[in-house]
Amino acid sequence: MNAPQGSASLSDAAFGATAGAFLVATLFASAQRHAAGAIRTCRLQALALAAAALAAMATVRTWPLALVVLLVVAGKVVLVPALLARHAARTPTSGHDAPSGVAGGALAAAALAGVALLALVSPQAGVAGAPGAAIALASVLAGLLVLALRGEETLRLAGLGLASNGALLGALALAPHETFLLVGTLLLDVPIALAGRGPRVAGRERAADVSSPGA
């Protein structure tokens, strides 16, 4: 990441450690087959993300990052997992994965491991060699694979959450001074919150069907 030359060592190590924890959480989250497990690991990943934002703030001394930390804790650690849990409770297939989900998890984990490994062993010192950016990109790809290949709606939303968390980690690693970009990346949680609307409407329709005289 773009750290000031003199004060980078300790905080850079802290950022690397939190990014490593983020990577492990992403690995576990993308391998989950049940909504409850995915939500739990998403929360862990968000905690690691908040820690990474704290480490970035200590490194680059950009105080608007404190706002990002607060928003990550409020949004990604508390609100989004709660909304996903409500969504899982409303969705009838909650707790059961589609057959393609196993393959999806395996593919996601493979993509994650492959991209992270390639990036981490890259001899380049530029973007491709930055561990934070590589882990972030791997998390985005893993999240998108979960979104694309999982059969259950809540798991798909969790996949989108993994991807958006990866995008925020990427913004922290690559452009920690870009407050607009960082706050904008936090807005990626809005579709996850709103996507719960579909099954709720469907639930109302089912309720209307059941209560209608002809049903």
């Binding site: 979104l147 989108l160 904008g184 990626l188 709103l194 996507a195 579909g198 469907a202």
Partner: protein, 486 residues
Amino acid sequence: MAWLAPLLLAPLLAAIAVLALGRTAWPARLALLGSGGTLAAAIALAARVERGGAFPAADGRLRADALGAVIAVLIALVAFAGAIERDAERPDGAPRKDVAPGSARRREALELALLACLLAASFADSIALAALALLGAMLLAAGRLGSGGPAATAATARPLLVGGAGATLALFAAALLAHAGNAAGAPDTNISGLLAVAPRLDASAIRAAFALALVGLGALAGLVPLAAWLPETSVHVDSTLAATLSAGAAAAAFVPILRVHALVAASGCAAWADGALALAGLLAMLVATPRILVQDDARRLLAWSGIAQLGFAAFSLGLGTPLAAFAGLLHLLLQSLARTAAFLAGGRLQAGIDAARPGHAGGALAGSPALGGAFAGALVALAGLPPAGTFVSQWLALAGGFASPLPLARGATVAALVLLVAGFAGLSFHGVRAVLGSPRTTARLAWPLRSRVAIGALLALVLLAGAGLPAALSTLIEQAARGVQP
């Protein structure tokens, strides 16, 4: 900002007015005024850009240039035609009794806010801002869905998930661009700021950013690999929103892709950027054309046709010749207008005949000669037949491709020509089935005068472009093409 503010504020103010005054006034009429004012502001801005060149606004976050101006006029035209069409739903001029006032207000306010988001994306000089504006547009589009049965509710999730995934990739691209700009000492991390230091930018970073932007924003535009959401969503929305998504939103999402393409080209990777854009376009055509051939649902047919034609425009812009770049932008413009006319006329036919399948809705011409004729005219324009302007834009693009010094580009142009012919065959086959034959219903289909004017004006623009472009429009498109291929 004095030129851009009216354009961006007109739809927002109209949306607020619809929500505030909709109970006493007519929401559709207010939306008509708002979108009409937006169109007037877009045309005024285009004239200003054509005469005085590009200029920044909002502290450099927005930039009014020829590309943004052309697309803004297109988006405003599509929105205005849609507003007229919705206004024409009230045949006697009174509010419809079968639509709750609150629902009508909400629909019009969402349409106007969607228009503002698309315009902001067209003028955004930053990928992050463009991605957020397009994400906002997807959220608003999803707000129009969610009723009409389980299939429609399932369709609600598609714009949300695709919008979220696309915006995620685009924001990662923005972070990469900001990193590259900071490393190169750019004055700011907007596209204009990055262009100032383009030769010093880290090539690997901006190539990766372009690839991510192409996939992420391409998902919102309806380019492969994340394109299938658009035809499926089009089935579950009214014809005006389907036209907005397929024509307006697709064009708005295409603009930031072209801006990053220009940046990559200016940094010394022009061949790579052109190749990636052309390949993405060709892939979109390759995926969409078979769907056109086997498609028997009118909405899906039009949406897949739109994906194929957007792919052709991308392919043309990626050929790297000035003629092909000009033709690609012209094709994007004219195809979007023709598709809007087809969606609006098809929606009215569908409402009258109550059949979505062209094979079942046969005899449109006999059932309603004027409306069926308009639908047939729109299909002719979509197929790229003369005298429509799409014929000219297609052949200009192909001529530009064959004029390329690169054998690979000439070979790819042959492949694009084959796909165009196949798409034309599919569209003609399904179009003939829809238009000719015995009418399914003996009742005369009503076609209000306002709707006739809106659809007729769109078709007239496409036809007139075949005869010749106005000098001002031609200059503006040339300026935009030079911006895409610096």
